[in-house]
Symmetry: C2
Subunit: 347 residues, 2 copies
């Protein structure tokens, strides 16, 4: 079968290869790939700056934003042939930390998790893959190809879940205004969940063209480029990872504000600023900032519910390009009108 593989650490070693069918040890469900979402982490791995091959292997099958159809499932697994499924990305270590043991592998304390398509475990970028039923999430079949948005949605479902749980430090916490920085797929999905929670949602990005401004407006969000005026959001979901945007978010949040960092920066750029002044403001205003990565099963389930409730036409517009597997190289090109690019295994 064909699979997209890469040698982690070696730039542009990506290729479409013939690889053996997945071993039974990968899980009790045999799945035929339908689509694979491509994200910034995939591009980092392709660039050679992130990613780890499985122990003993030189190459890694890429891909963690999966969508597939069950081809074979044992009785009692809770799945059957034809089910639309998405695979969870992270797996706990066989000797789990306290968080992983509790099913919170997204909060792993010792870093010994593995991740499909990213860290020491083959990904979902293959014509067939296997999944343990405990790490498979069944989707409403009416979602179809839109199910490929489940993994990025799970990431922001976790972000919002933590915002809500953290907000309970105060009995009177009633957020009204949310700011999402970055109108990429993660930002737009964060905005979707913010709207579903009844918040007044603002999105900040740099682009004035392409589909993003209209996608934001059709969600009922306010799209901003540049100056945010006096906007003082109760919640910020930061999806750019850009140092100056992160700092602006911290300074702009309302008293008692919660800033969630959901964008992974590349680093390497020093900024000079008054840490003491920021610290003082954070203390006097009870400000809070936290990083959020990955998602556990609870968040995938919440994400599936969020997608099921969403306007399907709007979701479909998030998938700005569907690239057939045979033309896979195009999926890794960055084009100005891209939102989410998806590799289409069924085309």
């Amino acid at each position: 079968m064909r699979a997209l593989t890469v040698e982690p650490g070696r730039p542009h070693s990506i290729d479409l290869e013939d690889v053996p069918h997945p071993p039974a040890s990968d899980g009790n469900l045999l799945v035929r790939a339908l689509a694979l979402g491509i994200c910034g982490t995939d591009r980092e791995i392709v660039a050679g700056s992130y990613g780890w091959a499985p122990s003993g292997a030189r190459r890694l099958i890429l891909g963690h934003e999966s969508l597939g159809q069950v081809e074979a499932a044992p009785e009692g697994s809770g799945f059957r042939r034809g089910d639309l499924v998405v695979g969870i990305v992270r797996r706990p270590d066989p000797v789990p930390c306290a968080a992983c043991a509790a099913g919170e592998w997204d909060m792993c304390r010792n870093g010994r998790y593995t991740e499909r398509g990213i860290k020491q475990r083959h990904g979902y970028g293959a014509e067939q893959f296997r999944l343990e039923s405990d790490f498979a999430v069944k989707l409403d079949p009416r979602l179809g190809i839109l199910g490929v948005l489940l993994e990025p949605t799970s990431v922001v479902a976790k972000a919002w879940d933590h915002v809500e749980r953290i907000g309970k430090r105060s009995a009177s916490w009633q957020p009204r205004v949310a700011l999402i920085t970055g109108a990429g797929p993660v930002g737009l999905l964060a905005a979707l969940i913010g709207k579903q929670r009844g918040l007044d949602v603002h999105i900040l990005d740099r682009v004035t063209g392409g589909p993003k401004p209209q996608l934001a407006r059709d969600l009922g969000a306010v799209y901003h480029v540049g100056d945010l005026g006096a906007l003082a959001p109760d919640v910020v979901i930061e999806c750019t990872g850009a140092g100056n945007v992160v700092l602006d978010a911290l300074r702009r949040a309302a008293p008692q504000g919660i800033v969630c960092l959901a964008g992974v920066s590349s680093g390497g750029h020093k900024l000079s600023f008054d840490v003491g002044d920021l610290n003082r403001t954070m203390v006097l205003e009870n400000s809070l900032v936290f990083g959020s990565v990955n998602a556990n099963r609870r968040h995938y389930v919440a994400a599936a519910e969020a997608l099921a409730k969403a306007d399907k036409d709007w979701l479909a517009r998030l998938i700005s390009r569907r690239v057939p597997l045979a033309r896979w190289r195009e999926a890794f090109e960055v084009r100005s009108d891209d939102v989410k690019v998806v590799l289409d295994f069924a085309a």
Copy 2:
């Protein structure tokens, strides 16, 4: 009666003045001052860099770390003559924000609170003051002079309360190691509560002499100067407000770590560092940092319980100097062996 007053904004305008007795509008309890704790905020006000006089007044009666004895209380107030009391510092605006309306004036959303001895409301640095019974906290009479530690303890009781509530974002959160930066009174009281919660407590400070190292050790905490080695705390309570210490705390915290900023910095010093790199680490490790200021009634009650459980001899050593009111100027001198300096109104 005599009171310590200051003209906010005018450096070193502090003086011991004769002022009228407190008006009945200040509250239904008449209290005779026993002691007043002096802290960094008082020194900032004395230096002219913080503080606001009451509306219509030029001078502010200083002091917010109170201890007094009730001289007169109406029936049904829950207080009677002779009770040992401490006054809560903050008051909500007559038109309260949602937080203040819920009794969480420490989480005020619009900044329209007032604070006794700090912001637009006379403080407790007078031979007599009045308190509304709703803003008075009764203490176990056996605490005696140690009751003057209640206000700074309430600040760290809030910090710990929020650490615990925020930790509930994860079902598996079980902190074991705490780092307190700064061995001033707030740091040592934060360490006390950490030990009472069964944590392995480490304290970082710069001084090797004076009473602080032994106070830390007698609490069962590890006292560090300089290098912390591989220590990766689950919780950091940052009590210095120094920019570089704040940054080190953020970088050092364990995955899923919670850093509470409880030290108010003066600002004015720029630091240059890689915000993107810190952001990336915070995202990948689910790190969290929050500012915490002030305390509400619940935290004063928790603080009173913490003091009641603590070793009284150890608490007594926190009060390193007791200065009689007549020699009040000495209380504002900074001496190398100071921990908490207290103005003694009964001497």
